[in-house]
């Protein structure tokens, strides 16, 4: 949990909540056509449960938040640019929502979707 103390008590934000924000941001990023699981077994179970944090992994310790995103990118786009846009967008949106710095956003390109071939 990510904690913050207020005069009235403690506010905790779960990694899952953070993952949801990251998920929304990633899905809106141009060039990202899907999020996917880190591994196959997880992927199969995920198909059954529509999970709003699918393909996102949030790690934290004390004050460091690091986010891993597993994406599928549209074939024919410049992957490097798309990936850097994704990490910027996710970092910005999570930081905006939480008011806490995100230390790391790692984008893992797990595959490409081919809808057209040139």
């Amino acid at each position: 949990m990510t904690n913050e103390n207020t005069p009235l008590g403690r506010v905790t934000i779960s990694p899952r909540a953070i993952a949801t924000i990251a998920y929304q941001a990633a899905r809106q990023s141009y060039g990202v056509v899907g999020l996917t699981s880190k591994n196959l077994v997880e992927g199969i179970t995920q198909v059954i449960v529509k999970d709003p944090t699918h393909g996102i992994e949030v790690k934290y310790d004390e004050e460091n938040i690091s986010i891993d995103i597993y994406v599928i990118i549209e074939y024919g786009t410049r992957i490097k640019s798309v990936a850097s846009s994704v990490s910027n967008t996710v970092k910005f949106n999570v930081e905006k929502a939480l008011g806490m710095p995100v230390n790391q956003v790692n984008v893992h390109v797990r595959g490409l979707r081919v809808s057209d071939t040139d």
Binding site: A25, R27, Q28, S29, Y30, G31, V32, V33, G34, E74, G76, T77, R78, K80, S81, V82, S84, S85, N88, T89, F92, N93, S115, D116, D118
Partner: protein, 561 residues
């Protein structure tokens, strides 16, 4: 078919460049015009950038993307418009930068695929190509956000499709498309709340409009190097920018609020103001206009007199930018002016261990400095940040320390720019390389020259030993001064004068012409002057230069050349 045949049967011409059928070379001119116009309006687009991340680089990204597209065709004599657009699409894809750049490259990709091998772009083909461009671009995202460049692409396609019933002339269609793009851009705040909150239109959408408008301006024979006159809402005027890089003729910032007596002729006002200064902005809110301009000292009062002639001045503010800039720089501990760089040029980044050395690098023409040296290695991210926002794709990094070469190479891997790390392992080597930089030169040749220059110079370094050791037959006691020549320990000494003279002797300074001493924070100017005098006596033939390097740990960094 050759071109003459076509121009003979041209219909009535409205504009100077409307007579040509759109074959490859005509399309090439259109691309060039759109790039030029985009570059002219780059800053105006940058300030609009609030979505998806407000980092103010959309204009720059789109310029770099179109620049890459242009580079692909600039030397091409291809007459087949289909094949030429394929080259444009390829260039845009390879150079795509940022969100808008990627989307732009997809628009071009669809556009080119639709034109395939057609020799000439006519109306129906244009409409179809726009249609394909839009489709391809929309395929790249699961949840398209409306109110962006995608929306503008969609709207212009719809306009083009319905216009085909009225005209099939590609130039007339272009005019309609540009109008539709303009309207669509104005609508973006209605579709995307963040834009409305910030009081701006979408930057990427605006960029697409500018690209199309640049083509139209070319057709009409209008100038492409003077920015669009525009009025923005007062709330969105960003006046606290432009400070970091001051150009000549920007001595004063003048801001005037005024009530015009009658409806303002905006383009006329812009044109009048352009005779006085630069960085012109005009804002409007509740009938009050705010004019912002940077002027040289001798034209300080002209904007005020001018706005006074337009109506009633309610407030005028003048700020001395030079003084302000000096203050800012003073606070930052330096007065460094970097060389501005244009898209396509080679920009250089140097790692400097002290403010004095940074200043020398700046005077040699680097575009950015990263602080760092022995025991304070900059991170890959810091190096990346230094060049990522420069408006060019060709970057040279001078790490100037062998421990930093690796992070510089790592930074080079993390960017879409073409980055070359010249393996300079000392400040003098970096300076020697900088001397050979020709920003407008051919990258390969310039880089080879720069790399070769590293060996033309001898580097001496003097520092205090932190432990007792024996290396290469030199005995060193902790606290003694040690002298390194080209990174190798050659001498130890008990005082700075002996160390310096001994080092110069080892470097065979008498065979060279110029000795430059960069003294660090641990020595006083008096000591340095004394040592410089001794050097002059010992090496009367050589020229001696003394510079305040401001580096920590190293009493002296010495270049012998």
């Amino acid at each position: 078919m050759d071109q003459e045949e076509h121009s003979l049967q041209a219909p009535e011409q409205l504009y100077p460049n409307q007579k040509y059928p759109v074959e490859g070379q005509v399309f090439k001119s259109l691309i060039e015009a759109s790039l030029t116009w985009l570059r002219t309006n780059q800053q105006a687009i940058n300030v609009l950038n609030v979505f998806p991340v407000p980092d103010g680089d959309t204009g720059t990204n789109m310029v770099l993307t179109m620049q890459a597209a242009w580079d692909e065709i600039s030397h091409s004599a291809e007459r087949n418009v289909g094949r030429l657009t394929h080259m444009v699409a390829h260039g845009a894809l390879m150079g795509a930068r940022g969100n808008s750049g990627v989307i732009l490259s997809q628009l071009w990709r669809g556009f080119a695929r639709s034109l395939d091998n057609h020799e000439i772009l006519d109306g129906p083909l244009l409409v179809n190509a726009l249609h394909q461009g839009r489709n391809t671009a929309y395929k790249g995202v699961v949840r398209p956000v409306e109110g962006t460049i995608l929306t503008v692409a969609k709207d212009i396609t719809a306009e083009a499709e319905s216009s085909l019933a009225i005209t099939s002339d590609p130039y007339e269609l272009l005019e309609r498309i540009v109008n539709a793009a303009d309207i669509s851009v104005q609508q973006t705040p209605e579709l995307l709340a963040v834009l409305k909150e910030a009081g701006v239109v979408d930057a990427g959408g605006k960029g697409l409009f500018i690209i199309l408008e640049g083509m139209l301006r070319f057709v009409k024979g209008l100038p492409l190097d003077v920015a669009n006159a525009s009025v923005q809402p007062l709330a969105s005027m960003k006046l606290e920018n432009t400070l970091e890089r001051m150009e000549p003729g920007q001595d004063f910032e003048v801001i005037v609020d005024f009530h015009p007596n009658e409806q303002l002729n905006i383009p006329q006002v812009y044109e009048d103001l352009q005779h006085m200064g630069t960085s012109i902005q005009l804002g409007e809110g509740d009938g009050i206009y705010r004019m912002h301009i940077h002027v040289p000292a001798d034209k300080l009062y002209e904007p005020i007199q001018y706005t006074n002639s337009l109506g009633v001045v309610t407030k005028a503010a003048i700020e001395n930018l030079r003084a302000q800039l000096e203050k800012v720089e003073h606070e930052a501990g330096s007065t460094i002016q970097f060389s501005p760089v244009e898209p396509g040029q080679i920009a250089s980044i140097a790692v400097a261990p002290g403010p004095g050395i940074a200043r020398v690098f700046a005077s040699l023409g680097v575009s950015a400095i990263v602080e760092g040296g022995q025991t304070m290695n900059p991170s890959t991210q810091e190096i990346l940040n230094a060049f990522e926002n420069l408006p060019t794709d060709q970057i040279v990094i001078l790490p100037n320390n062998k421990n930093i070469i690796l992070s510089a190479q790592a930074a080079a891997q993390l960017t879409v720019k073409h980055v070359t790390v010249i393996p300079t392992s000392s400040v003098p080597q970096g300076m020697a390389a900088m001397m050979r930089l020709i920003p407008t030169g051919k990258a390969e040749e310039v880089l080879a020259e720069m790399t070769a220059a590293i060996n033309d110079i001898e580097t001496g370094e003097i520092t205090t030993a932190t432990r007792s050791v024996q290396i290469d037959g030199v005995n060193v006691k902790e606290g003694q001064l040690i002298c390194l020549l080209n990174g190798k320990l050659v001498l130890s000494a008990n005082n700075l004068k002996d160390a310096t003279l001994g080092l110069l002797k080892k470097a065979h300074a008498d065979h060279f012409e110029l000795i430059t001493l960069f003294y660090g924070t641990d020595v006083t100017r008096m000591e340095v002057d004394d040592i410089a005098d001794s050097i002059r006596k010992k090496f009367p033939e050589q020229e001696i230069e003394v510079q305040d390097g401001g580096q920590p740990h190293y009493q002296f960094i010495i270049s012998v050349e």
